[in-house]
Protein backbone atom coordinates (compact mmCIF):
# COMPACT_ATOMS: atom_id res chain seq x y z
CA UNK A 1 0.00 0.00 0.00
CA UNK A 2 2.88 2.34 0.78
CA UNK A 3 4.75 0.76 -2.07
CA UNK A 4 5.84 3.50 -4.46
CA UNK A 5 7.53 0.91 -6.64
CA UNK A 6 4.52 -1.14 -7.70
CA UNK A 7 2.34 1.98 -7.75
CA UNK A 8 4.74 3.62 -10.18
CA UNK A 9 4.99 0.58 -12.41
CA UNK A 10 1.20 0.35 -12.54
CA UNK A 11 0.92 4.07 -13.22
CA UNK A 12 2.82 3.73 -16.50
CA UNK A 13 1.88 0.27 -17.80
CA UNK A 14 3.17 0.77 -21.35
CA UNK A 15 6.57 1.94 -20.21
CA UNK A 16 6.75 -0.91 -17.71
CA UNK A 17 5.88 -3.45 -20.40
CA UNK A 18 8.44 -2.02 -22.83
CA UNK A 19 11.16 -2.10 -20.18
CA UNK A 20 10.25 -5.67 -19.25
CA UNK A 21 10.38 -6.67 -22.92
CA UNK A 22 13.76 -4.97 -23.28
CA UNK A 23 15.21 -7.05 -20.47
CA UNK A 24 13.48 -10.18 -21.77
CA UNK A 25 15.05 -9.62 -25.16
CA UNK A 26 18.51 -9.79 -23.65
CA UNK A 27 17.65 -12.94 -21.74
CA UNK A 28 16.19 -14.62 -24.83
CA UNK A 29 19.26 -13.74 -26.88
CA UNK A 30 21.60 -15.20 -24.30
CA UNK A 31 19.62 -18.39 -23.76
CA UNK A 32 18.98 -19.11 -27.43
CA UNK A 33 22.30 -18.07 -28.91
CA UNK A 34 24.40 -19.78 -26.31
CA UNK A 35 22.15 -22.83 -26.38
CA UNK A 36 22.17 -22.96 -30.14
CA UNK A 37 25.91 -22.74 -30.59
CA UNK A 38 26.58 -25.23 -27.82
CA UNK A 39 23.77 -27.52 -28.85
CA UNK A 40 24.86 -27.81 -32.44
CA UNK A 41 28.49 -28.36 -31.52
CA UNK A 42 27.92 -30.82 -28.73
CA UNK A 43 25.31 -32.76 -30.58
CA UNK A 44 27.60 -33.18 -33.53
CA UNK A 45 30.51 -34.12 -31.32
CA UNK A 46 28.48 -36.59 -29.30
CA UNK A 47 27.27 -38.42 -32.36
CA UNK A 48 30.76 -38.56 -33.77
CA UNK A 49 32.22 -39.98 -30.62
CA UNK A 50 29.51 -42.61 -30.39
CA UNK A 51 31.55 -44.84 -32.64
CA UNK A 52 33.34 -48.14 -32.15
CA UNK A 53 36.31 -47.14 -34.27
CA UNK A 54 39.08 -45.58 -32.21
CA UNK A 55 40.66 -43.58 -35.01
CA UNK A 56 39.59 -41.29 -37.79
CA UNK A 57 41.97 -40.79 -40.69
CA UNK A 58 41.66 -37.67 -42.78
CA UNK A 59 43.46 -34.87 -44.54
CA UNK A 60 44.90 -32.11 -42.38
CA UNK A 61 42.28 -29.38 -41.78
CA UNK A 62 39.66 -31.60 -43.24
CA UNK A 63 37.67 -32.67 -40.26
CA UNK A 64 35.58 -30.99 -37.67
CA UNK A 65 32.77 -28.46 -37.57
CA UNK A 66 32.56 -26.03 -40.40
CA UNK A 67 34.82 -27.83 -42.82
CA UNK A 68 34.01 -28.02 -46.47
CA UNK A 69 31.58 -30.67 -47.48
CA UNK A 70 33.33 -31.70 -50.64
CA UNK A 71 34.66 -35.27 -50.64
CA UNK A 72 38.41 -34.84 -50.87
CA UNK A 73 40.13 -37.92 -49.49
CA UNK A 74 40.91 -40.67 -52.03
CA UNK A 75 39.34 -43.96 -50.99
CA UNK A 76 42.54 -45.71 -51.97
CA UNK A 77 43.91 -44.82 -48.56
CA UNK A 78 41.55 -47.32 -46.94
CA UNK A 79 43.23 -50.56 -48.15
CA UNK A 80 46.66 -49.05 -47.37
CA UNK A 81 45.61 -48.29 -43.80
CA UNK A 82 44.11 -51.76 -43.45
CA UNK A 83 47.55 -53.27 -43.97
CA UNK A 84 49.18 -51.28 -41.19
CA UNK A 85 50.22 -53.05 -38.03
CA UNK A 86 47.52 -53.14 -35.33
CA UNK A 87 44.62 -52.18 -37.63
CA UNK A 88 41.66 -54.53 -37.53
CA UNK A 89 39.24 -52.92 -39.97
CA UNK A 90 38.72 -49.73 -41.97
CA UNK A 91 35.71 -48.02 -43.54
CA UNK A 92 35.64 -44.93 -45.78
CA UNK A 93 32.88 -42.41 -45.04
CA UNK A 94 31.64 -39.44 -47.02
CA UNK A 95 30.04 -36.54 -45.20
CA UNK A 96 27.99 -33.86 -46.83
CA UNK A 97 26.34 -30.89 -45.15
CA UNK A 98 23.26 -29.77 -47.02
CA UNK A 99 20.48 -27.29 -46.33
CA UNK A 100 17.61 -28.91 -44.48
CA UNK A 101 14.62 -29.78 -46.65
CA UNK A 102 12.02 -28.62 -44.22
CA UNK A 103 13.33 -25.32 -42.98
CA UNK A 104 16.34 -23.36 -41.82
CA UNK A 105 19.46 -25.06 -40.72
CA UNK A 106 21.76 -27.65 -42.17
CA UNK A 107 21.53 -31.38 -42.29
CA UNK A 108 24.40 -33.83 -42.44
CA UNK A 109 24.21 -36.80 -44.81
CA UNK A 110 26.72 -39.61 -44.74
CA UNK A 111 27.72 -41.97 -47.49
CA UNK A 112 28.83 -45.29 -46.06
CA UNK A 113 29.92 -48.69 -47.22
CA UNK A 114 27.58 -50.62 -44.94
CA UNK A 115 29.57 -53.85 -44.79
CA UNK A 116 32.84 -52.29 -43.65
CA UNK A 117 31.01 -49.65 -41.64
CA UNK A 118 29.41 -52.28 -39.46
CA UNK A 119 32.85 -53.80 -38.88
CA UNK A 120 34.26 -50.55 -37.46
CA UNK A 121 31.19 -49.29 -35.58
CA UNK A 122 28.44 -50.73 -33.41
CA UNK A 123 25.80 -49.86 -35.96
CA UNK A 124 23.00 -52.35 -36.26
CA UNK A 125 19.73 -52.28 -38.15
CA UNK A 126 16.95 -52.03 -35.61
CA UNK A 127 13.93 -52.13 -37.89
CA UNK A 128 13.52 -52.90 -41.55
CA UNK A 129 16.42 -54.05 -43.62
CA UNK A 130 19.93 -52.92 -44.34
CA UNK A 131 21.17 -50.53 -47.00
CA UNK A 132 21.50 -52.43 -50.25
CA UNK A 133 20.06 -50.43 -53.15
CA UNK A 134 21.39 -47.15 -54.48
CA UNK A 135 18.12 -45.35 -53.82
CA UNK A 136 17.83 -46.49 -50.22
CA UNK A 137 18.54 -44.58 -47.05
CA UNK A 138 18.77 -45.57 -43.41
CA UNK A 139 18.05 -43.15 -40.58
CA UNK A 140 18.40 -43.17 -36.81
CA UNK A 141 15.34 -43.35 -34.50
CA UNK A 142 15.55 -39.65 -33.56
CA UNK A 143 15.36 -38.57 -37.17
CA UNK A 144 12.52 -41.00 -37.78
CA UNK A 145 10.63 -39.59 -34.82
CA UNK A 146 11.38 -35.89 -35.46
CA UNK A 147 10.59 -35.99 -39.15
CA UNK A 148 7.87 -38.61 -38.80
CA UNK A 149 9.29 -40.96 -41.40
CA UNK A 150 8.57 -44.68 -41.53
CA UNK A 151 10.14 -47.52 -43.41
CA UNK A 152 9.18 -47.27 -47.06
CA UNK A 153 8.74 -43.47 -46.92
CA UNK A 154 10.69 -41.35 -49.35
CA UNK A 155 13.21 -38.59 -48.54
CA UNK A 156 14.52 -36.07 -51.09
CA UNK A 157 18.31 -35.85 -51.11
CA UNK A 158 20.42 -34.16 -53.79
CA UNK A 159 17.30 -33.92 -55.94
CA UNK A 160 16.74 -37.65 -55.82
CA UNK A 161 14.08 -39.71 -54.14
CA UNK A 162 15.44 -42.13 -51.57
CA UNK A 163 13.39 -44.73 -49.74
CA UNK A 164 13.87 -45.53 -46.09
CA UNK A 165 14.89 -49.16 -45.92
CA UNK A 166 15.76 -49.39 -42.24
CA UNK A 167 16.27 -47.63 -38.92
CA UNK A 168 19.62 -48.11 -37.22
CA UNK A 169 21.03 -47.83 -33.69
CA UNK A 170 22.84 -46.14 -31.98
CA UNK A 171 23.24 -42.50 -33.09
CA UNK A 172 26.50 -42.30 -34.97
CA UNK A 173 27.59 -39.37 -37.11
CA UNK A 174 24.93 -38.10 -39.47
CA UNK A 175 21.35 -39.17 -38.92
CA UNK A 176 20.83 -39.95 -42.61
CA UNK A 177 23.02 -42.49 -44.34
CA UNK A 178 23.11 -43.54 -47.98
CA UNK A 179 25.55 -45.68 -49.90
CA UNK A 180 28.96 -44.07 -50.36
CA UNK A 181 29.06 -45.08 -54.02
CA UNK A 182 25.76 -43.27 -54.57
CA UNK A 183 27.02 -40.15 -52.82
CA UNK A 184 30.19 -40.19 -54.93
CA UNK A 185 28.08 -40.37 -58.10
CA UNK A 186 25.73 -37.62 -57.03
CA UNK A 187 28.52 -35.25 -55.99
CA UNK A 188 30.73 -36.15 -58.92
CA UNK A 189 33.55 -37.24 -56.65
CA UNK A 190 34.42 -40.67 -57.88
CA UNK A 191 36.58 -42.74 -55.51
CA UNK A 192 36.64 -40.10 -52.83
CA UNK A 193 35.43 -39.83 -49.27
CA UNK A 194 35.73 -37.45 -46.28
CA UNK A 195 37.54 -39.66 -43.81
CA UNK A 196 38.30 -43.27 -43.00
CA UNK A 197 37.22 -44.90 -39.74
CA UNK A 198 39.94 -47.12 -38.34
CA UNK A 199 39.24 -49.88 -35.83
CA UNK A 200 42.25 -51.12 -33.87
CA UNK A 201 42.87 -54.70 -32.87
CA UNK A 202 43.03 -53.62 -29.23
CA UNK A 203 41.66 -50.33 -27.91
CA UNK A 204 44.60 -49.84 -25.57
CA UNK A 205 46.92 -49.88 -28.56
CA UNK A 206 45.34 -46.94 -30.38
CA UNK A 207 48.16 -44.41 -29.78
CA UNK A 208 50.66 -46.84 -31.25
CA UNK A 209 48.42 -47.56 -34.23
CA UNK A 210 47.99 -43.83 -34.84
CA UNK A 211 51.77 -43.40 -34.87
CA UNK A 212 52.12 -46.34 -37.27
CA UNK A 213 49.59 -44.83 -39.66
CA UNK A 214 51.22 -41.41 -39.65
CA UNK A 215 54.69 -42.84 -40.24
CA UNK A 216 53.42 -44.94 -43.14
CA UNK A 217 51.23 -42.20 -44.62
CA UNK A 218 52.85 -38.91 -43.55
CA UNK A 219 51.21 -35.53 -44.12
CA UNK A 220 47.79 -36.74 -43.06
CA UNK A 221 45.82 -36.43 -39.86
CA UNK A 222 44.65 -39.03 -37.36
CA UNK A 223 42.04 -38.09 -34.77
CA UNK A 224 41.03 -40.10 -31.73
CA UNK A 225 37.28 -40.48 -31.75
CA UNK A 226 37.25 -40.23 -27.93
CA UNK A 227 38.57 -36.67 -28.33
CA UNK A 228 36.17 -35.52 -30.96
CA UNK A 229 33.66 -34.34 -28.38
CA UNK A 230 36.11 -31.95 -26.81
CA UNK A 231 37.41 -31.01 -30.22
CA UNK A 232 33.99 -29.75 -31.08
CA UNK A 233 33.60 -27.96 -27.79
CA UNK A 234 36.77 -25.95 -27.92
CA UNK A 235 37.38 -26.18 -31.61
CA UNK A 236 35.54 -23.09 -32.58
CA UNK A 237 36.87 -19.91 -31.09
CA UNK A 238 34.90 -17.98 -33.66
CA UNK A 239 31.64 -19.34 -32.30
CA UNK A 240 32.70 -18.53 -28.76
CA UNK A 241 33.55 -14.97 -29.75
CA UNK A 242 30.19 -14.69 -31.42
CA UNK A 243 28.43 -15.94 -28.32
CA UNK A 244 30.35 -13.46 -26.17
CA UNK A 245 29.41 -10.65 -28.51
CA UNK A 246 25.76 -11.64 -28.25
CA UNK A 247 25.97 -11.66 -24.46
CA UNK A 248 27.60 -8.23 -24.40
CA UNK A 249 25.02 -6.79 -26.78
CA UNK A 250 22.24 -8.25 -24.62
CA UNK A 251 23.70 -6.68 -21.50
CA UNK A 252 23.98 -3.31 -23.23
CA UNK A 253 20.39 -3.50 -24.50
CA UNK A 254 19.09 -4.30 -21.02
CA UNK A 255 21.17 -1.60 -19.35
CA UNK A 256 20.06 1.04 -21.85
CA UNK A 257 16.40 0.08 -21.66
CA UNK A 258 16.37 0.24 -17.87
CA UNK A 259 18.43 3.41 -17.78
CA UNK A 260 16.08 5.15 -20.16
CA UNK A 261 12.99 3.93 -18.33
CA UNK A 262 14.35 4.97 -14.94
CA UNK A 263 15.62 8.27 -16.26
CA UNK A 264 12.26 9.30 -17.63
CA UNK A 265 10.53 8.00 -14.52
CA UNK A 266 12.61 10.00 -12.11
CA UNK A 267 12.46 13.16 -14.19
CA UNK A 268 8.71 12.86 -14.17
CA UNK A 269 8.77 12.32 -10.42
CA UNK A 270 11.34 14.94 -9.44
CA UNK A 271 8.81 16.61 -7.20
CA UNK A 272 8.02 13.34 -5.43
CA UNK A 273 11.71 12.86 -4.75
CA UNK A 274 11.71 16.34 -3.20
CA UNK A 275 8.80 15.32 -0.97
CA UNK A 276 10.61 12.13 0.06
CA UNK A 277 13.56 14.30 1.04
CA UNK A 278 11.35 16.71 2.99
CA UNK A 279 10.10 13.69 4.93
CA UNK A 280 13.70 12.91 5.85
CA UNK A 281 14.38 10.10 3.39
CA UNK A 282 18.11 9.50 3.14
CA UNK A 283 20.02 9.17 -0.12
CA UNK A 284 20.30 5.44 0.35
CA UNK A 285 16.54 5.16 0.90
CA UNK A 286 15.89 6.93 -2.39
CA UNK A 287 18.52 4.93 -4.29
CA UNK A 288 17.07 1.76 -2.83
CA UNK A 289 13.50 2.68 -3.91
CA UNK A 290 14.65 3.23 -7.47
CA UNK A 291 16.79 0.11 -7.55
CA UNK A 292 13.84 -1.90 -6.25
CA UNK A 293 11.82 -0.68 -9.20
CA UNK A 294 14.58 -1.67 -11.60
CA UNK A 295 14.93 -5.02 -9.88
CA UNK A 296 11.23 -5.73 -10.26
CA UNK A 297 11.39 -4.88 -13.97
CA UNK A 298 14.48 -7.06 -14.38
CA UNK A 299 12.94 -10.01 -12.60
CA UNK A 300 9.76 -9.75 -14.66
CA UNK A 301 11.88 -9.37 -17.79
CA UNK A 302 13.95 -12.42 -16.92
CA UNK A 303 10.84 -14.53 -16.33
CA UNK A 304 9.32 -13.35 -19.60
CA UNK A 305 12.64 -14.03 -21.28
CA UNK A 306 12.69 -17.59 -19.96
CA UNK A 307 9.16 -18.14 -21.16
CA UNK A 308 9.90 -16.85 -24.64
CA UNK A 309 13.24 -18.64 -24.86
CA UNK A 310 11.84 -21.98 -23.77
CA UNK A 311 8.84 -21.69 -26.07
CA UNK A 312 11.12 -20.49 -28.88
CA UNK A 313 13.50 -23.38 -28.31
CA UNK A 314 10.63 -25.83 -28.46
CA UNK A 315 9.33 -24.29 -31.69
CA UNK A 316 12.79 -24.21 -33.28
CA UNK A 317 13.55 -27.80 -32.40
CA UNK A 318 10.16 -28.90 -33.61
CA UNK A 319 10.30 -27.08 -36.90
CA UNK A 320 13.96 -27.09 -37.83
CA UNK A 321 16.89 -29.41 -37.64
CA UNK A 322 18.66 -27.10 -35.20
CA UNK A 323 19.56 -28.35 -31.77
CA UNK A 324 19.47 -25.97 -28.82
CA UNK A 325 21.03 -26.92 -25.53
CA UNK A 326 19.29 -25.71 -22.40
CA UNK A 327 21.78 -25.82 -19.58
CA UNK A 328 20.87 -24.62 -16.10
CA UNK A 329 24.19 -22.82 -16.01
CA UNK A 330 23.23 -20.68 -18.96
CA UNK A 331 19.74 -20.00 -17.66
CA UNK A 332 21.28 -18.69 -14.46
CA UNK A 333 23.78 -16.73 -16.47
CA UNK A 334 20.97 -15.14 -18.47
CA UNK A 335 19.14 -14.23 -15.25
CA UNK A 336 22.30 -12.65 -13.96
CA UNK A 337 22.61 -10.67 -17.18
CA UNK A 338 19.01 -9.46 -16.90
CA UNK A 339 19.08 -8.56 -13.23
CA UNK A 340 22.56 -7.10 -13.03
CA UNK A 341 22.05 -4.94 -16.07
CA UNK A 342 18.79 -3.71 -14.52
CA UNK A 343 20.53 -2.74 -11.33
CA UNK A 344 23.42 -1.12 -13.17
CA UNK A 345 21.11 0.69 -15.58
CA UNK A 346 19.17 2.21 -12.69
CA UNK A 347 22.27 3.25 -10.77
CA UNK A 348 23.05 6.45 -12.63
CA UNK A 349 19.48 7.82 -12.53
CA UNK A 350 19.23 6.78 -8.87
CA UNK A 351 22.46 8.50 -7.87
CA UNK A 352 21.56 11.60 -9.83
CA UNK A 353 18.17 11.97 -8.23
CA UNK A 354 19.39 11.13 -4.72
CA UNK A 355 21.85 14.00 -4.91
CA UNK A 356 19.31 16.51 -6.11
CA UNK A 357 18.73 19.74 -4.24
CA UNK A 358 15.51 19.10 -2.23
CA UNK A 359 14.17 22.65 -2.52
CA UNK A 360 14.66 22.72 -6.29
CA UNK A 361 13.08 19.27 -6.59
CA UNK A 362 10.04 20.48 -4.64
CA UNK A 363 9.50 23.45 -6.93
CA UNK A 364 9.79 21.31 -10.08
CA UNK A 365 6.63 21.55 -12.17
Amino acid sequence: MDNLVTANLKQRPIRTIISVIGVALGVVLVVLMVGLSHGVLQEQGRRNSNVGAELLFTRPNNYGPGTSSVLSLPVQYAPKIAEINGVQAVSPVGQYLKPSNQSFGMEMVEGIDIDTYQKVTNLSIDQGKTLSEDNEVIVDPIYAKDKKVKIGDSIDLFGHKFYVSGIYQPEIGARIKIKLSMMQNLLGSKDRCSFVFVKCQTTSNQEQVATNILSTLPGNKVLFTREIQSLYEKGLPAVNTFVKAVVVVSIIISILVIMLAMYTTITERTREIGVLKSLGASKSFIIFEIEKEALLISVLGTLLGYLVAITGRWLIIKNTSLIIDLELKWLLYAALVGILSGLIGALYPALKVANQDPVKALSYE
Partner: protein
Amino acid sequence: MKTILQTVDLKMIYQIGKVAVNALRGVNLTVNQAEFVAIMGPSGCGKSTMLHILGGMLKPSSGSVLIDGQDLSKMSDGSRTELRRQKIGFVFQKFNLFPTLTAEGNIRLAERIRLNGNHKNDSERRREILRLLNLEGRLNHKPLELSGGEQQRVAIARALVGSPAIVLADEPTGNLDSENSQIVLKMLQELNGKFGQTIVMITHSPEAASIAQRVVHMRDGQIVNK
Protein backbone atom coordinates in the same frame (compact mmCIF):
# COMPACT_ATOMS: atom_id res chain seq x y z
CA MET B 1 9.63 27.68 28.86
CA LYS B 2 11.91 25.49 26.72
CA THR B 3 13.36 26.96 23.53
CA ILE B 4 12.89 24.51 20.67
CA LEU B 5 14.16 26.61 17.79
CA GLN B 6 16.58 29.47 17.62
CA THR B 7 18.32 31.28 14.79
CA VAL B 8 21.26 33.63 15.31
CA ASP B 9 22.12 36.23 12.67
CA LEU B 10 20.90 33.92 9.91
CA LYS B 11 21.92 35.03 6.44
CA MET B 12 21.22 33.57 3.03
CA ILE B 13 22.66 34.81 -0.22
CA TYR B 14 21.58 33.22 -3.51
CA GLN B 15 24.22 33.56 -6.17
CA ILE B 16 22.76 33.63 -9.68
CA GLY B 17 25.69 34.12 -12.01
CA LYS B 18 27.18 37.48 -11.00
CA VAL B 19 24.07 38.64 -9.20
CA ALA B 20 23.82 37.99 -5.48
CA VAL B 21 20.34 37.98 -3.94
CA ASN B 22 20.29 38.71 -0.24
CA ALA B 23 17.28 36.62 0.73
CA LEU B 24 17.97 36.72 4.50
CA ARG B 25 19.95 39.54 6.10
CA GLY B 26 20.46 38.42 9.66
CA VAL B 27 17.37 36.80 11.14
CA ASN B 28 17.15 36.26 14.90
CA LEU B 29 14.13 34.17 15.77
CA THR B 30 13.32 32.17 18.89
CA VAL B 31 10.39 29.77 19.15
CA ASN B 32 9.40 28.03 22.37
CA GLN B 33 8.11 24.53 22.72
CA ALA B 34 4.35 24.23 22.12
CA GLU B 35 4.23 27.67 20.57
CA PHE B 36 2.21 28.47 17.45
CA VAL B 37 3.98 31.18 15.45
CA ALA B 38 2.73 32.77 12.24
CA ILE B 39 5.15 34.44 9.84
CA MET B 40 3.88 37.20 7.58
CA GLY B 41 5.48 39.51 5.09
CA PRO B 42 5.40 40.64 1.47
CA SER B 43 6.21 38.29 -1.37
CA GLY B 44 9.94 37.73 -1.81
CA CYS B 45 10.89 38.86 1.68
CA GLY B 46 12.53 35.50 2.45
CA LYS B 47 9.85 33.58 4.36
CA SER B 48 10.12 30.31 2.43
CA THR B 49 13.91 30.54 2.36
CA MET B 50 13.91 30.77 6.13
CA LEU B 51 11.49 27.89 6.53
CA HIS B 52 13.59 25.67 4.28
CA ILE B 53 16.68 26.49 6.31
CA LEU B 54 14.83 25.76 9.57
CA GLY B 55 13.88 22.37 8.20
CA GLY B 56 17.41 21.56 7.07
CA MET B 57 16.49 21.53 3.38
CA LEU B 58 18.86 24.40 2.66
CA LYS B 59 22.23 25.33 4.10
CA PRO B 60 22.44 28.97 5.23
CA SER B 61 25.28 31.21 4.01
CA SER B 62 26.06 32.19 7.58
CA GLY B 63 24.60 32.28 11.07
CA SER B 64 23.35 29.36 13.09
CA VAL B 65 20.11 27.43 13.54
CA LEU B 66 19.51 25.48 16.72
CA ILE B 67 16.80 22.83 16.58
CA ASP B 68 16.21 21.21 19.95
CA GLY B 69 19.77 22.13 20.93
CA GLN B 70 21.48 20.89 17.75
CA ASP B 71 23.17 23.34 15.37
CA LEU B 72 21.94 22.65 11.84
CA SER B 73 24.27 25.08 10.13
CA LYS B 74 27.34 23.06 11.03
CA MET B 75 25.92 19.73 9.94
CA SER B 76 26.63 17.66 6.86
CA ASP B 77 23.90 17.07 4.34
CA GLY B 78 23.30 13.57 5.71
CA SER B 79 23.01 14.74 9.33
CA ARG B 80 20.58 17.49 8.37
CA THR B 81 18.45 14.88 6.60
CA GLU B 82 18.54 12.73 9.71
CA LEU B 83 17.56 15.65 11.93
CA ARG B 84 14.71 16.48 9.58
CA ARG B 85 13.56 12.87 9.68
CA GLN B 86 13.41 12.92 13.46
CA LYS B 87 12.28 16.44 14.33
CA ILE B 88 10.63 18.25 11.43
CA GLY B 89 7.27 17.85 9.74
CA PHE B 90 6.67 19.86 6.57
CA VAL B 91 3.30 21.02 5.25
CA PHE B 92 3.24 22.68 1.83
CA GLN B 93 0.88 24.98 -0.01
CA LYS B 94 0.52 22.44 -2.83
CA PHE B 95 -0.15 19.47 -0.50
CA ASN B 96 2.50 17.37 -2.31
CA LEU B 97 0.91 14.00 -1.69
CA PHE B 98 2.10 11.02 -3.73
CA PRO B 99 -0.59 10.77 -6.42
CA THR B 100 -0.16 7.04 -6.97
CA LEU B 101 -0.75 6.14 -3.33
CA THR B 102 -3.93 6.29 -1.30
CA ALA B 103 -4.24 8.61 1.69
CA GLU B 104 -3.29 5.74 3.94
CA GLY B 105 -0.43 4.75 1.63
CA ASN B 106 0.92 8.28 1.88
CA ILE B 107 0.87 8.11 5.67
CA ARG B 108 2.37 4.62 5.74
CA LEU B 109 5.19 5.67 3.46
CA ALA B 110 6.01 8.50 5.85
CA GLU B 111 5.93 5.97 8.69
CA ARG B 112 8.31 3.75 6.78
CA ILE B 113 10.74 6.62 6.37
CA ARG B 114 10.38 8.25 9.77
CA LEU B 115 9.86 5.27 12.06
CA ASN B 116 11.92 2.76 10.11
CA GLY B 117 8.76 0.73 9.71
CA ASN B 118 7.79 0.20 13.35
CA HIS B 119 4.48 2.01 13.55
CA LYS B 120 3.17 -0.26 16.29
CA ASN B 121 4.02 1.94 19.23
CA ASP B 122 2.50 4.96 17.51
CA SER B 123 -0.82 3.49 16.49
CA GLU B 124 -2.82 5.04 19.34
CA ARG B 125 -1.56 8.51 18.55
CA ARG B 126 -2.10 7.83 14.87
CA ARG B 127 -5.75 6.98 15.41
CA GLU B 128 -6.21 10.07 17.51
CA ILE B 129 -4.70 12.29 14.85
CA LEU B 130 -6.83 10.76 12.11
CA ARG B 131 -9.92 11.34 14.26
CA LEU B 132 -8.94 14.90 14.94
CA LEU B 133 -8.31 15.56 11.25
CA ASN B 134 -11.59 13.80 10.45
CA LEU B 135 -9.92 11.52 7.89
CA GLU B 136 -11.06 8.09 9.02
CA GLY B 137 -13.49 7.62 6.14
CA ARG B 138 -11.16 8.89 3.43
CA LEU B 139 -8.12 6.68 3.91
CA ASN B 140 -8.65 4.45 0.89
CA HIS B 141 -8.90 7.30 -1.56
CA LYS B 142 -6.16 8.57 -3.82
CA PRO B 143 -5.34 12.31 -3.69
CA LEU B 144 -7.20 13.05 -6.92
CA GLU B 145 -10.38 11.66 -5.37
CA LEU B 146 -10.08 14.00 -2.39
CA SER B 147 -11.00 17.68 -2.03
CA GLY B 148 -8.22 20.20 -1.50
CA GLY B 149 -9.09 20.47 2.16
CA GLU B 150 -9.00 16.71 2.58
CA GLN B 151 -5.68 16.49 0.77
CA GLN B 152 -4.18 19.11 3.05
CA ARG B 153 -5.47 17.24 6.10
CA VAL B 154 -3.79 14.06 4.84
CA ALA B 155 -0.61 16.08 4.32
CA ILE B 156 -0.84 17.34 7.92
CA ALA B 157 -1.37 13.80 9.18
CA ARG B 158 1.69 12.77 7.22
CA ALA B 159 3.74 15.63 8.67
CA LEU B 160 2.81 14.50 12.18
CA VAL B 161 4.11 10.95 11.71
CA GLY B 162 6.85 10.23 14.21
CA SER B 163 5.86 13.13 16.50
CA PRO B 164 8.13 15.83 15.06
CA ALA B 165 9.33 18.53 17.45
CA ILE B 166 8.27 21.23 15.00
CA VAL B 167 5.75 21.44 12.17
CA LEU B 168 6.80 23.89 9.45
CA ALA B 169 3.91 24.97 7.22
CA ASP B 170 4.41 27.14 4.13
CA GLU B 171 1.08 28.81 3.31
CA PRO B 172 -0.96 25.70 4.17
CA THR B 173 -4.22 27.42 3.25
CA GLY B 174 -2.85 29.17 0.16
CA ASN B 175 -4.58 26.75 -2.20
CA LEU B 176 -7.83 26.37 -0.25
CA ASP B 177 -11.15 28.15 -0.37
CA SER B 178 -12.18 30.02 2.75
CA GLU B 179 -14.34 27.21 4.10
CA ASN B 180 -11.59 24.60 3.84
CA SER B 181 -9.06 27.13 5.12
CA GLN B 182 -11.18 27.53 8.23
CA ILE B 183 -11.27 23.78 8.80
CA VAL B 184 -7.54 23.31 8.31
CA LEU B 185 -6.67 26.29 10.52
CA LYS B 186 -8.95 25.04 13.25
CA MET B 187 -7.27 21.65 13.11
CA LEU B 188 -3.79 23.17 13.34
CA GLN B 189 -4.99 25.14 16.35
CA GLU B 190 -6.31 21.97 17.96
CA LEU B 191 -3.07 20.11 17.32
CA ASN B 192 -1.24 22.90 19.03
CA GLY B 193 -3.73 23.02 21.90
CA LYS B 194 -4.31 19.30 22.49
CA PHE B 195 -0.91 17.83 21.64
CA GLY B 196 1.24 20.83 22.41
CA GLN B 197 2.53 20.69 18.86
CA THR B 198 5.01 23.45 18.01
CA ILE B 199 3.98 25.04 14.70
CA VAL B 200 5.66 27.68 12.54
CA MET B 201 3.31 28.75 9.76
CA ILE B 202 3.89 31.15 6.89
CA THR B 203 0.75 32.91 5.74
CA HIS B 204 -0.41 35.90 3.75
CA SER B 205 -3.80 35.97 5.39
CA PRO B 206 -4.31 38.05 8.55
CA GLU B 207 -7.23 35.79 9.38
CA ALA B 208 -4.98 32.74 9.39
CA ALA B 209 -2.32 34.57 11.35
CA SER B 210 -4.89 35.50 13.98
CA ILE B 211 -5.17 31.91 15.24
CA ALA B 212 -1.46 31.85 16.11
CA GLN B 213 -0.19 32.83 19.52
CA ARG B 214 2.39 35.15 18.01
CA VAL B 215 2.86 36.82 14.62
CA VAL B 216 6.33 37.54 13.30
CA HIS B 217 6.65 40.08 10.50
CA MET B 218 9.39 39.99 7.90
CA ARG B 219 10.56 42.48 5.33
CA ASP B 220 13.58 42.37 3.00
CA GLY B 221 15.08 39.34 4.66
CA GLN B 222 14.74 40.62 8.20
CA ILE B 223 12.32 40.41 11.09
CA VAL B 224 10.67 43.75 11.74
CA ASN B 225 8.45 45.17 14.42
CA LYS B 226 5.16 46.11 12.95
